[in-house]
């Protein structure tokens, strides 16, 4: 994404957070649980902290519990220590369970926080609620990776199994770390939820993003996911084999987003084998559809126009040129060099064909 989009994205996340606080104020919510990664420790600005404090001050009657995660650990210089947080905010600063009561003692909130980006001491599994107090309402908030939902290719943080933390008496566990909303269910009574990020943060986080509203009435606990994202990420692949002109591609892309209620941040990957005429119009297709998006990234993964093996057989300078580069590509083991050689081959053939090829890396507009 271009650099200016970063500020727009950050502002959007603030707007979403403000919306959640407004909802907490209007409902009104008794307790607000924030399961970590509220900000980036290394990146947070004073302005952001001032914003958070201002927002928390808007709901003085709501008890706010924050369980810092791996992105906002309670390091000695953490804003959690240095900032003056409103009295209704409680931060679990140590990697061990701590219990606080809220709502005039009607609710007990348990939580722990990361005190480093990686914590060696894993408190999950050490939560315990005395038997005589198990009839009361117990909530917990923490940050970590539930093993059964941990993607295999991602690093885990404070890994745990849901059954270890779903101790008797615990009614609800609010978890943070995974960015999509998901419920961890199993052979236990505790409701365990990852609320996910209230708005997508990258193209990996497409779909709806929510905050969770929990109501406890007469001992019955209901969890309601409420859409919170202002911006939705959108990542689709478009097969271009049947398209005859760029207009068809443009109309198909427009059709994709008509069903959405807001302008998405989209990545549209074009694949398959499309006609050279379409391939040469990628810039035009992007510009023609970009207005429909908050931001559009058009990825051209369509097959090369040329059959370079076939071209290499031609008894022409171009054929010998392509053959030479095919040889170089086959002999090269360096991925970067292969990319360069492929591009050189594409450019050489385009030069012979006098075909326009977009220069990658030029600033658009």
């Amino acid at each position: 994404m271009p650099a200016p989009m970063g500020n727009q994205r950050r502002q959007s996340l603030r707007d979403v957070f403000q919306g959640i606080i407004t909802r907490a104020a209007e409902w009104p919510a008794d307790v607000l649980l924030i399961a970590g990664d509220l900000f980036e420790h290394d990146r947070v600005t004073r302005d952001t902290l001032a914003f958070l404090v201002t927002e928390f001050n808007r709901i003085p009657d709501t008890a706010i519990f924050i369980a810092p995660g791996n992105h906002d650990p309670c390091l000695p210089n953490s804003p959690y220590f240095t900032e003056a947080w409103p009295p209704n905010v409680h931060i679990f600063t140590k990697p061990e369970w701590e219990s606080r009561s809220a709502c005039q003692g009607n609710v007990t909130v348990h939580g722990f926080g990361f005190d480093a980006p990686y914590i060696t001491k894993n408190p999950f599994g050490q939560l315990w609620i005395p038997e005589k107090r198990q009839s009361e309402l117990h909530l917990a908030v923490a940050h970590g990776s539930e093993r059964s939902h941990q993607p295999p290719d991602r690093e885990d943080y404070a890994p745990f199994s849901a059954k270890d933390v779903a101790v008797p008496g615990l009614d609800y566990l609010a978890l943070g770390h995974f960015h999509h909303m998901q419920e961890i269910s199993g052979d236990f009574d505790t409701r365990i939820f990852y609320a996910g990020s209230p708005e997508g943060l990258s193209f990996k986080e497409t779909g709806e993003h929510v905050h969770l509203e929990i109501e406890v009435e007469e001992g019955r606990l209901t969890v309601t996911p409420v859409p919170s994202a202002r911006i939705r990420y959108f990542d689709e692949t478009l097969f271009c084999d049947e398209f005859k002109s760029s207009q068809e591609v443009i109309e198909t892309i427009r059709g994709y987003i008509q069903s959405l209620d807001t302008k998405p941040i989209g990545r549209m990957t074009l694949t398959g084998a499309c006609d050279a005429a379409i391939k040469n119009e990628m810039g035009f297709i992007h510009d023609a559809t970009a207005l429909e998006f908050e931001y559009l990234e058009l990825v051209d993964n369509t097959a090369p126009i040329e059959d370079y093996d076939e071209l290499a057989r031609e008894d022409t300078s171009m054929g010998v040129f392509v053959a030479a580069l095919n040889r170089e590509i086959a002999e090269s083991a360096n991925a970067g060099r292969i990319t360069m050689l492929k591009r050189a081959r594409e450019l050489g053939v385009a030069a012979f064909r006098d075909r326009n090829v977009e220069i990658h890396g030029l600033e658009r507009g």
Partner: protein
Amino acid sequence: MKLSKLQIDGYGRFIESEFELAPGLQIIAGANEQGKSTTRHFIGDMLYGQKRNTTKRIYEESNELRMPWGNASTFGGRLTYILDNGHEIEVHRNFDRKHESLSVFNRTLGQDITNDFPVLKNRESTFAEAHLNMTKSVFIGTATISHVSLMELGDKEALVSIRERLLSLTDSGDESRSAEDALQWLNARSISIGQKTARTKPLPMTRARLLDLQDEYQTVLDARQEIQVVERQHASIMEEIGILLNEKTALETELAQCRNSEHSTRLSRATDLTNEINSCTRESMGIAQYRDFPIDRFAHVSQLQTQLAGAEEQLRKAENRLAEQQLELDATLERLANEGVVVMKEVNPEYESTLTSLEAEIQSLNYRINETEELHARCQTGYMDAQQALGNLPDFSQFSTEPIERITQATAEFDLACKVRDEEQTQFEHIEETLEQKHSLSEESEKLFAEFDDFGKVLESHENSTTEHEEFLADLYHDSEDIKHRIDDIESRLPSFYIFTALSVFALIAVLVVVLSTQNTTFYYTAGIFGLLFAILGSMTLLSRNHLRREHKRLSTTEMEIDRHEIANQRSAKQFEELMESTNSSTLREIEAIYDQFLNSQKDRDRYQEHLNLQQTRVDDSEAHVGELFTHLQTMFAEIGTQLSAEEEVSGAAMNSISQYHEYRETKRKSIEHRDSLNRYINELESLNTKRESLRADERKHSLDARQFMRDNHYEEESQHDSALSALRSYRIKSAQARHQQSDLEVVQGQIKVLKQQLDEHSQSTASLQAELEAALLEASSDSFEEYQDKYTNAKRYQELRVQRSQCEEQLAHVLGEDTLASLEERYGNVDINESTTGRSADAIQAELSGIQQTLDDKRKREHALHILLAERSAGMRSLNEVEEERDATIARQADLELELQAAEHASQIMQEVTQKRHTKVAPKLAQLASEYLSVITDGAYKELLINQDMQISIRVPQTQALNQDPERLLSKGTVDQIYLSLRLAMINILSEGAEQIPMVLDDPFAHYDDARVKSAMKLMTEVAENNQVLLFTCREDVVRAAEALGAPVLHI
């Protein structure tokens, strides 16, 4: 390959059509729009299909254009051809997209070979490519020749156009794009991205932007760290403020409690006062009758009473004492007679009080001076420590006003210079490596042509001399032949001469015998005639023999000349033959081409050498620049005591220096603080010392006065006292004792005298007092002083009560202030006076509160200053996220652009190498074949066509026998057409070399030829068709006629 039959089911305007084709030259004649081009396209489509490219099933426009109007399902047909190995192949195709099919049969083997060939991504079989050994584009571009004329090529610079087309065919198989065009395209692209020397193109601008962003990133990072430090200080101050606020709140609470307690006390006091007022009022009412008693007289009366009593007592005592004194006088007189007592005046008490006061003041000043000196010593130690620490640190004051900025800028500049130098060095090595490669490539050629200063001229000279020699030899041979002919002629005629001479001799002898035998004179005439004949023939024979001898001699000379020239020729050619042998060349043109290549390589090498020299200069410059900067850095760091010996130390030195600067700044600050304190304490000490000296002077003066006084009064021991004060005290005791001893007698005498006088006075005054007292008692209507005293007591009490009441009322007013007793009771009536307090007074609490408030104000000022500092540090600075995002985007953009530039340059390099090799390889063969064709087509008028490795065409013009690269002015348009045709045919021949003979499809190539040239061209076609099948499509009758004249079959469509 020979196309033998076309069977068209449906294609364009042809429905159910069939054409048999001859294996050699086949004329296909028809008027315009009769289907000639359609037939030509049918052949191409049958062989290669109708897909637009090889990767995707997208059809060419011909798929729709050639679709038969009636039944689309018949769109297709059969094509039969015979390969050079004799196999007959039949291709069946249906082009209808819904029923698209292809079958390939080998009729000779009776096999379906459709699946024997690989299939392209567009699902087309590659059978035609396998059989023709060329792709569709090359077949269409090369084997198919359409109209050729100067009208298309352009009237001017036709050979340039031909060259371009030739290059394009060689390079891309298409007439429109050559490698030169492609290289220009790539070069333009590289320039538009921004090559090394560019400054304003996207790549250099992106690089520059990235450098800026990296600087900005570092700045933000540094500022962030600085801000974190300030924030920590800020947080610490805030914490302290919090503590102070808590303390302040506690004190305010305590003060309020204290105030409440005071108010309660006030209420209590007011109540007490009110009660006391009431009590006074009640009591005063009871003694109100004494309110008019003259109290002011009581003192007088009482005094009178006392004086009277006193006078009476004095009178009595004086009488007693008089008696006692009388006795004492006697005793004293006796004692003093034995003692000599010195008179000592009584010391003035001011001396002692003044000296005591001065001593106290001096003592106080001493304490203050000691205290100040202690502080001064402490500050001095601190200052010395700071100075010592500063002495151990570099002096940054002379270094720069902004040392960090200077160090950072200098090191950043140095880093940048190092980076530039490394890049330049890398570039230099790259060029050097390339140059070495060029050297190694051209080494062999260099050896070959080393002995020639200018091989071109040598070759030209050799060729000229060879031509001259050949011409001269030809002349010599011609002369030799003429001589031989003449010798033969003479030799053939000489026997006749001998015979006729012999016959004439025999005839003469016979006639003479007859004359002599007959003596007939008439025979004398005959004998004379024969004699004459004999003489003539004899002369002729002799002449011929002489002539023959001369001719033989000339022949011998000519043959010797020929031998000489041939030896010279062989000698001249020997070195070139050796060259040809060593370069595997068969002609001088090839050597010339190699030499041209060598020259180009030399130029290329020279260019690289220049580039290398230039790069060396740049490397030297950048190295020098780095050196200068390093020297500058050494000087700069030397200023602050850091010695740099290697470039690697720069970064560490910079970090160390910045760290030292921070330490220096802090130490300097402390030093200044200590210095200021020192100055303050010195000033204070001076002031105190001055004051103390002044006091000491006063003390000395007073001491001197006192001591003088004591000496004047015979007190010699004063010198034994260190202090005048102690001497005075001692003097006072001593003088008192002395006076006491001396005055005993005088006193006793005087007392006796006085006592006597007093006795008289007391007697008088007692009487007077008695009278006055009685008058006063009478005035107060009192009979006795006791009654008078009772009345006075009541009156006094009344007055006291009034005063007391008045005072109470005043106090009450003071206690109540603006309040009333009722309001106080209302507000503080319920306050517990014993509420827990620290016992401190409100003022003490207020004083402490003021102190805390002062500290708090100081802290807040500091906090505000830090806040401002934070705001200043953050002002105008983007967030780390923003900078990082733009930096990452710029890095990605630079990587893309670098890749684009690298790819374009690499493509350009490979293309240059490939095309040069290919042109060098193709050019001589193309020239040779084209020369042959041209010779045929021009009836030998033009025999030699030369093409160098740049595919530049030159032709030996018969009029001048010189090679001409600009022959337009000398060649007719038709000749240029013929040159082009020759080259195209030669190109096909080259493509067929060692492979299948490609059928040529010519679409009216002679559209603009005149009759003569058409005939020549047809003659050429007939020759070409002996190897390659030629399908010649034409609408011209003269072409048909010319073909028919040569026996070529004509197919009319």
